[in-house]
Amino acid sequence: MKLSKKIPLDFEIDKLTNSIENTSTDEVFDTVVVQLTLKDLSHIHKSEWQFDWAKEIKDKTKEVYKLTTINNPTIIQGLLSLEDKQDHIFMHLIESSKFNKGKDKVYLGVPGNLVAFACKISFDKGYQGFLAFDAKTALIKHYQETLHATHFRGLRMFIETTAALRLISQYFKS
């Protein structure tokens, strides 16, 4: 899918560990979310990603994060692009890595993990967990049921304080 096609859809991050689950073995692996910088661009091969993550990293209004397992910090499981809107966090992009897509995906839980992280950032910045984003039409119900997201209008959705707290408690060890 090309980016041009309009399809909706310094904190202590080292301590924010959570996990993803191997679809074949049901094994659970602890993960970590780390902010990406321009230096990390060499680890992101354009052909392996649907979105232009280099563009996101270069955009100074956005912050890009990667999810990896603790044991394999060089293998990116998913990417997240956020913008601080001063009173809430806006989630521009979320993408699971190529091997975490489709019916043969290797790990489950990558996107939920990243959304919970975005909510955590919203709390850390004093925005009470508010996170806004767009959803694909077919996924609105799914997000309402799994993320407890609220449908705002059209493809617009948001996560409010109670739902954000629920997500954080599901993913982040205290």
Binding site: K6, I7, P8, L9, S19, I20, E21, T23, V28, Q50, F51, K85, D87, H88, F90, M91, H92, L93, I94, E95, S96, K101, G102, K103, K105, L108, G109, V110, P111, G112, N113, Q128, F130, A132, F133, D134, A135, K136, L139, H142, T146, L147, F152, R153, L155, R156, F158, E160, T161, T162, L167, S169, Q170, Y171
Partner: protein
């Protein structure tokens, strides 16, 4: 509580378009209403707790 596991046939991908000024204005209004409501709930809850412990 367990992980939120997307179904195998579902790929959770978000690609947001910028929200219009009007959408942002309405969203901020709603967000503030929720924040006020939550603050009232919290206050009510803490008042109740104080009464119980008194």
């Amino acid at each position: 509580m367990g992980l939120i596991k997307e179904p195998k046939n579902v790929d959770f991908t978000v690609q947001s378009e910028p929200w219009t000024e009007e959408e942002l204005k309405d969203f901020r209004k709603l967000m503030n209403e929720i924040k006020v409501k939550n603050a009232k709930k919290k206050l009510r809850s803490s008042t109740t707790k104080k009464r119980v412990s008194a």
